[in-house]
Every structure is written in structure tokens, then in C-alpha cells.
Symmetry: C2
Subunit: 347 residues, 2 copies
């Protein structure tokens, strides 16, 4: 009541009184559902959730097991759906998550983001933001079958009236084999290159390189795997919002054709105990990258109130650290490490 009186007296609408974008979006969804006329926030959320369902359903067909599904809400608006399949027939651990976050960015975060997004207002104490993403990591049991990671996300900030201020897309996908089959790496890269090429011939080479640079265990002088694509901060300095949404849709839609043929031809191959042990050592490197270098994981682990179990779902079920394990010359294990030390062009 004090605030209402104040606004009558001063003829100013105090900031707390104008609806947040979380409130606006909840109202819009309730009243008119989601269509191509809706704000991108709602369209991206709907697109991600539809794809999550489809991917989970296809992976269940591959595995034969069922995902466990946790749905959670954030008190400030938004929430997530965490789908996990643990100790399945094909997958040691598979996580397919969507999350939608409404919140306020503190001044320090705004300053950092301004490096890539000049439209952000540097003169405010905080900004409302929206973030939606789908992220997935699949760790198969069979050492012949590669781990795969994927993440696509949309980020937006609003001014004090709730109008979109800055926005951008980010994401990518990458493949991490323990035993390298060239045909798998070539297939994985070809499919995502097709999706990229439909939108911009420069995208694949640019984002392939970015992926090799980002997913790197610098302390080991190795990439995490054989790469794929990675991009961030794609905004209207690159293409308009519809074009970029269409690009991200094509990338995410490429996933099942990218990965299903690979997992299907590897999941039942015979393997030895020694191969399983090598896989466990490579899993250790995966943990090293995610906990030491990955910016998304670091951000999540240090964010107050973050859902730790959803963030760390990316870690394998089991991993191994063996002092000075060096593959023997001329083995397949050694060949993998050679490729990780010097990323190749696959297509």
C-alpha cells in the first residue's frame, strides 16, 4: 500500500510495481498459449521441451530402459525438467535437461557481458534476464561407443519496462570417443556441417575451430574429444533473431541423425576388460574438463541456489585416475591421444 500511495503522490511507477517478464510470460501462456507470435522466450522454451521429449523417447528405444524424470520450479519463475537414465542397458549415465530461468543480473555480471553485448545498459544496478537451454550428456557402457554432449541456449535481458534489451544464442555439440572410429567422427561432423551450411557457409569452419579451442584440457595439452561445433553470443550483429532461431532449430534437429547411427553400430560390439579400463581413464579426463575448465559448470556451481545434481549430471557414473598411464606405441589408445593433441579436419 505504501508503494501505491507513493506512486500516486509522485506520479511515478516504482520499478517493483511493473510486472516482471516472468509474470508477463506466465499470463501470456495461460491466455493464448505459444505461437509464432509469442515472444522468443516462450517459443524457445516450447521448442526445447518438444525436442527433449523426442530425444528421450528415441534414447529409450536405443537403451530399452526408461528415463527417470524430475520436474522442478524456481521460486523466481521458470524451472526445469531433468531426465536421467542411469545404469541402463546401453547407457551408463544419460542426462537430458531443460531449464528456464527468470532472474536479475547483478551489476558485475552486466559489466562482464558488455564485452560482447554493447547494447547492455552499464548504468543500472541490475537487469532482469531470461535464460532457456537444453543440455545433454550421454555416457554409454561400451568403450567402442562415444560419449556425446550437446547444449543449445537462448539468453535475453529486459529493461525496466520489461522490453527486450539484449539477446543471444549459444550452444554446440561434441563427440568424445575412447576408441576412435574415423567414420563416426566424419559422420558426426558431416551432419552438423549440413545444418550449419544451410545458414552460413562460414559457420561450420568458425564453430568447429571454436569447439576445439573451448573443449580443451589445457593442462594436458589435449582436446576433450574429436569436437563438433561451439558458438556463443550470436546476436543481431550476426543475423536477425528469426534467422538465428532457425539455425539453432536445425542444429538441435540434427542431433538424432548425428548420433543414433553411431550408438547403434557400437553399442553391442565386443570389448575387453583392458578396453573398459582405458574408458575409465578417459572418463577421468572428462571429469577434469568439466570441473576445471567448463565455464557453464563453474557458473552453476558458484551460483546461489543452483540445482547441483542437475549441473553435475554431466559427470560419468564412474571414472579412474591412474598415475602416469601412458598408452603403448602403435596402439589404438595411443592413436586417440595423438588426434586429441592435434585436432583434425573431419570433413
Amino acid at each position: 500500500i505504501g508503494a501505491v500511495v507513493y506512486s500516486m503522490l509522485t506520479n511515478d511507477i516504482p520499478q517493483a510495481e511493473s510486472p516482471t517478464i516472468a509474470e508477463k510470460d506466465a499470463l501470456l501462456k495461460r491466455e493464448s498459449g505459444v505461437s509464432t507470435q509469442s515472444p522468443m522466450r516462450l517459443r524457445m522454451e516450447a521448442f526445447l521441451k518438444k525436442n527433449q521429449k523426442e530425444i528421450v523417447s528415441e534414447l529409450e528405444k536405443v537403451d530399452g530402459g526408461k528415463f527417470h524424470i524430475d520436474t522442478w520450479d524456481r521460486p523466481e519463475g521458470g524451472g526445469g525438467i531433468t531426465c536421467v537414465l542411469q545404469d541402463g542397458k546401453v547407457f551408463e549415465k544419460a542426462g537430458v535437461n531443460t531449464s528456464v530461468v527468470y532472474g536479475r543480473l547483478p551489476r558485475a555480471a552486466i559489466q562482464k557481458m558488455r564485452v560482447n553485448h554493447k547494447a547492455l545498459n552499464p548504468d543500472v544496478d541490475s537487469l532482469e534476464f531470461f535464460a532457456a537451454g537444453l543440455s545433454m550428456v550421454l555416457h554409454p557402457h561400451n568403450p567402442n561407443a562415444p560419449t556425446v554432449h550437446l547444449n543449445y541456449r537462448y539468453f535475453e535481458t529486459a529493461d525496466e519496462l520489461g522490453n527486450t534489451n539484449s539477446w543471444w544464442y549459444g550452444g554446440g555439440c561434441d563427440l568424445t570417443p575412447c576408441y576412435l572410429y574415423d567414420e563416426d567422427a566424419i559422420h558426426f561432423h558431416s551432419k552438423i556441417k549440413e545444418a550449419c551450411d544451410k545458414h552460413d557457409k562460414d559457420y561450420y569452419p568458425r564453430f568447429k575451430k571454436w569447439c576445439d579451442e573451448y573443449f580443451s584440457n589445457k593442462h594436458r595439452g589435449e582436446t576433450r574429444g574429436v569436437g563438433g561445433i561451439f558458438f556463443d553470443d550470436l546476436d543481431d550483429t550476426d543475423k536477425d533473431k528469426e534467422q538465428l532461431f532457425s539455425f539453432v532449430q536445425d542444429c538441435l534437429s540434427a542431433f538424432l541423425p548425428q548420433y543414433l547411427p553411431i550408438i547403434n553400430r557400437r553399442k553391442d560390439m565386443p570389448f575387453t576388460d583392458a578396453m573398459k579400463q582405458w574408458q575409465q581413464i578417459r572418463r577421468g579426463r572428462y571429469v577434469e574438463f568439466n570441473l576445471v575448465h567448463d565455464r557453464g559448470t563453474a557458473f552453476g556451481l558458484h551460483a546461489p541456489g543452483a540445482r547441483i545434481e542437475s549441473i553435475l549430471i554431466s559427470l560419468p557414473l564412474t571414472a579412474r585416475w591412474q598415475y602416469q598411464h601412458v598408452p603403448e606405441i602403435g596402439t589404438r589408445e595411443e592413436r586417440l591421444v595423438e588426434v586429441l593433441k592435434k585436432p583434425r579436419e573431419w570433413v
Copy 2:
């Protein structure tokens, strides 16, 4: 020759011409060995190496297996001895390392260190430094037997004439059980408290608290284990160098009496597969602390030319990440987590 001519002309000794402390120490050791008259650098190094030998020998008696020993040199001076016992009878992985480093601190590092050491000269581009430490992590097979970690170190900087400028000691020890036996925690803390009390009655309570704060998986709201002591930057604002050396000697000498009775009464206890699995999950938390929060590990992994295998020897041989594993009410697993969420006073 150019430099010699230059120094004759200007009657100045150019910096590059004065011997480094690495050169001075090498000469001193060769000519007169190490005695109580030697610089602290050489005394600390000798003390650490003597203790490393003794600890390795006692742990071999416990395990029945032999440590693998790697000795390595640094081109700039110094080097290390890495002792590892992997897949032993008692220890899944045991690492006992000493390292001695001579090098130059860049300006940015000096600025950071000045927060705690005002005597450091802020007006130089770099400073020569010396660091020596012993660090150890023992991960036993038996889930009833706790993991233990210990580290004691000495750090020194020299001015351009090679005279000691700033110096300090750091270190500590801490115990990480998967199954909590109060008597073990009480024994471990009592022994290190005895060592502390001989030197300063305030040390144990101060360093016990510091340990609980430092060895904390903040993202989980849990300490890593049941603690011990931790201290850093102990210099002449606290006590003189001889007194602190004597304190650190007593701490390190306390280790075998601290840990041997515990490992000996736990190593052969019966355990179930479920207990082993819980141990693997707790090992995962150990990896999380070391890779996400530990400053020493982060420093090592980002330092150019660091010996990664010696740094990551602290990681367990195997670990597990299971989505949302929550111990059942009233179990020993639950009791451990309760204690880690709210550190106790053990003595």
C-alpha cells in the same frame, strides 16, 4: 663478454650476473652439506626428504607393497620425488611427494601475495622465489578406513642480491572417512592438537576452524571430511623463523602416530558391496573439492610446465557420480553427511 665489459665500464653488477639462490644453494650443499647453520631453504628440504623416506617406509610395512619412486629435476633448479603406491593390498592409491622449486614470481603474483606479506617489494617486475613442500594423500581400499591428506610447505622470496626478503610456512592435515568412527576423528585431532599446544595454545582452535572453512565443498554445503588443521602465511608477524620451523617439524612428526593406529584397526574390517559403492560416491566428492575448490591444485594445473601427474596424484583411483544419491534416514551414511554439514569439535 658484453655484460662483463659493461660492468667494468659502469662499475655496476648487472642483475643477471649475481648468482641466483638456486646456484648459491647448489654450491653450499656441495661444499658444506646441510647443518643448522644452513639457510632455511636447505634445512626444510632436508627435513622434508627425511620424513618422506620414513613415511614411505612405514606405509610399506602397513601395505606389504612397494612404492614406485620417480625423481625429477626442474631446469631452473630444484625438483621433486614422487612416491606412488597404486592398487596395493591396503591402499587403493597412495602418493607421498616432495617438491623443491626455484623460480621467479611475476609482478601479478607479487601483488597478490602482498595482501598477506607487506615486506614484498611492489616496485619490481619479478622476484626470485623458493618453495619446498611435502604433500601426501592416502586412499585406502577398505571403506572403513579413512582417506588422509597432509601438506607442509615453506616459501621464500629473495631480493636482487639473493638475500631473503619474505618467507612463510603453510600446511595442515585432514581426515576424510566414508564411515565415521568417532574414536578415529578424536584420535586424529588429539594428536595434532598436542603438537600445536606445545607451541601456542591458540593454534589448534584457530587452525581447526580454518581447516573446516577451507576444505569445504561449498556447492554441496558439506566439508570434505572431519577436518584437522590448516594454516597459511605463518611468518614473523606470528613467531620467529626457528619457532615456526620447530612447529612445522612437530606437526609433520605427528603424522605417523596420528594415522597408523587408525589404518591398522580399519584396514582388515569386513565390508559389503553397498559400503564400497558409498565409498565411491564419497570419492567423487573428494574429486569435486580438489578440482573445483582447492587453490593449490588450481595453481598447479594453470602453471606452465607443471608436472600434472604429480599434482593429480591426490585424486582417488576410482570415483562415482550417481544422480541424487541420498542416504536413508538413520543410517551410518546419513550420520556422516550430518557431521559434514555441521563440523564438530572433536577434542
